[in-house]
């Protein structure tokens, strides 16, 4: 991991098209500006993690409990066989 020190107004370039600028900092908070191409998604990590967790949960739960919601064969039909 690379650790750099920046003053407000100074930037870091990641590759050739992502620029991260420290806007301001005070005490425990830093304001950061990020310029990146539109296809680069940028998220607060905890938000991204929350969605990742929701996705994992959805994938896990997808298996058995959806059955009642599927369009089912008529049970009566099956009894007749």
């Amino acid at each position: 991991m690379l650790v750099l020190t920046r003053k407000p107004g100074e930037s870091i370039l990641v590759g050739s098209d992502v620029r991260i600028t420290l806007v301001s900092s005070s005490g425990t908070h830093a304001r950061i500006a990020i310029e990146a191409p539109g296809d680069v998604s940028i998220h607060r990590e905890e938000v991204y993690e929350r969605i990742a967790e929701a996705n994992r949960e959805a994938a896990m739960a997808a298996a058995p409990s959806i059955e009642p919601l599927q369009s089912q064969d008529d049970p009566a039909e099956r009894d007749e066989e």
Partner: protein
């Protein structure tokens, strides 16, 4: 024919589809290596369809058109999302949401819908951070139960075609 691909999914067994039916995603949060999917519908009128991973045999998501359940849903889709997907008109965008089944309840992830361009088969899951939308919006039990076999006419009538809410 030659462009048919066959893959295995533990839920559905062996699946054969034309390559042209594949949807390409740049991965999904939590599943960065799941790049190719197919949509499987059990019934055109069903409330839920399956988004089945071609790359991970254990992975499938139940998905739903959010407007079936939440007619007021208004995801703040941005121009850059449309650009990334190559959307050129309203027909190039479908919006689906991932459903989670938990006991008696069904939840839709309205914060992070799937945007799909059916023309070029590209999709992405976007995250609408800083909105009041919920990642776990519950479908009211009555709706879900009725929706099982026999969707109530009122709900169906409220359904808004995916993409129609987006100003291009």
């Amino acid at each position: 024919m030659s462009d048919q691909i066959v893959f295995e999914n533990h839920r559905f067994g062996e699946i054969a589809v034309n390559e042209s039916e594949l949807l390409n995603f740049p991965g999904l949060p939590g599943f960065p290596k799941a790049l190719r999917f197919v949509v499987m519908e059990h019934d055109r009128d069903a409330f839920f369809a399956w988004l089945v991973s071609v790359d991970d045999p254990d992975l499938a998501f139940a998905i739903a058109d959010p407007w079936q359940f939440f007619p007021e849903y208004d995801p703040p889709i941005e121009l850059r999302h449309l650009n990334v997907l190559g959307v050129e008109g309203p027909k190039d965008l479908e919006v689906m949401t991932i459903a989670t089944f938990a006991g008696e309840t069904v939840r839709l992830n309205l914060v992070a819908p799937l945007l799909i361009n059916p023309r070029n088969r590209r999709g992405m899951q976007v995250i609408f951070d800083r909105t009041s939308l919920s990642a776990r919006e519950e479908i009211r039990p009555a709706e879900a139960e009725d929706g099982a076999a026999n969707p109530p006419a009122s709900v169906r009538l409220q359904a808004v075609p995916a993409g129609s809410k987006v100003d291009l």
